[in-house]
């Protein structure tokens, strides 16, 4: 056999095997990896936000595909009814890129139940202060049927002084979550209960 042919052939065969092995492994493990990520990355935040729920929100998580995007929703189920849900959205416009915000919504009152920041790259000590749960309390009880914005944009929430861009990104994340729930509430509840049955 010609040397060059052999070189190309061997390299190709090795690459194909490598790709097949990895694709198989990825396929087999992806569900487990997603669960681990949930447990370690979002678990602590969910536990704080939905503290006191009788069910395990992580185990009852449903993934909802709507408008071409996948959104994971963590429910608080009590007496067969979905009372609160938490969901994660990316808030745009932060100083260091997207701020990932976990928002819990109370479905009985249609108001915000709580807000936490899961991931951000804001400047430590400056923008990062906006991720503080004490500041985030300002979002509690805001109704979701109107746009959630900062007061400087004509909304209801004060920005944290010196951290305007980070605050804007958080407000954007909360607003996206609120709009998503407002638009798809019935569908979300239906899917959660279907999974629970």
């Amino acid at each position: 056999m010609n040397e060059i042919t052999k070189m190309v052939l061997v390299t190709t065969v090795i690459c194909v095997f490598a790709a097949a092995l990895l694709a198989g492994l990825k396929q087999g493990l992806s569900a487990r990896i997603a669960r681990q990520e949930d447990y370690y990355v979002r678990g602590p935040v969910i536990q704080e936000l939905l503290k006191g729920s009788p069910n395990d929100p992580l185990a009852d998580k449903v993934i909802i595909e709507l408008d071409g995007e996948e959104v994971g929703v963590y429910p608080w189920i009590e007496e067969g009814k979905v009372r609160r849900i938490a969901l994660e959205r990316h808030g745009k416009g932060g100083y260091g890129g997207d701020v990932v915000v976990m928002t819990a919504v109370d479905l009985e009152t249609d108001r915000i139940y709580g807000v936490r920041v899961t991931q951000h790259k804001e400047t430590p000590g400056v923008g990062s202060r906006a991720a503080d749960p004490v500041y985030l309390k300002r979002y509690q009880k805001l109704p979701i049927n109107q746009e959630i914005r900062l007061t400087r944009d004509g909304g209801q929430v004060d920005a944290l002084s010196g951290a305007t861009r980070s605050s804007t990104a958080i407000a954007d994340g909360v607003n996206r979550a609120a709009q998503f729930v407002l638009k798809h509430e019935e569908e979300i509840v239906k899917r959660i209960l279907e999974k629970k049955m």
Partner: protein, 190 residues
């Protein structure tokens, strides 16, 4: 302003060699003489910048659309290895003097984890194209800075009396530790 913070942080505060521990093998290997340290620095700045640009494009324009993010390690290392080969051939043909100065360092660079490390950090930190460019250039400049400073110190070892068991890598590591301590002083600047 944002870029300035990024530059200061990458060159001084988060120096890839002394604070992030990337590229230590060649650091200890080629820092015995100033001349080789300068050559290596040039090659590193060139390769890190080019490799980061290409891997960034591959990640965002090829791997993400195809949902193959998990293959980034394998894709990046292949790109870097072939890039280095390609640069070597290209330089030899077109830029003879530059090749003579940097050529011998190029094969060493494939296994320099700073190259793959910076490429991976650009992805991990979600940098935009501009940020990636600034970050990779300033990181490699930081690498060069540390390497050249260190080579300056190490040239003195030849004329100092060092106890025998400490000679070579041992004293090199302790010195690197003291330099790293000095760089730690920049923490909080950004």
């Amino acid at each position: 302003m944002e870029y300035l913070v990024l530059v200061i942080s990458a060159v001084l505060v988060q120096n890839i060699l002394l604070a992030q521990y990337l590229g230590n093998c060649p650091f200890l290997g080629v820092s015995k003489q100033m001349e080789t340290a300068l050559g290596m620095s040039g090659a590193v700045i060139f390769v890190i910048t080019l490799a980061s640009v290409i891997t960034w494009m591959i990640y965002w324009w090829v791997l993400i659309p195809l949902h193959l993010e998990y293959l980034q390690t394998i894709a990046f290392i292949l790109v870097i290895a072939s890039l280095v080969q390609f640069i070597e051939i290209f330089m030899k043909k077109t830029m003879e003097p530059l090749y003579r100065a940097l050529g011998i360092f190029l094969p060493l660079i494939t296994t320099n984890c700073a190259v793959l490390g910076v490429a991976l950090l650009c992805i991990k930190n979600d940098y935009s194209f501009g940020e990636m460019l600034v970050f990779s250039i300033s990181s490699s400049v930081g690498y060069a800075l540390a390497l050249i400073l260190f080579a300056g110190l190490r040239e003195r070892f030849a004329i100092s009396r060092i106890p025998e068991p400490l000679q070579g890598t041992a004293i090199g590591l302790v010195t690197a530790g003291l330099m790293s301590l000095a760089f730690l002083g920049f923490t909080g600047m950004t």
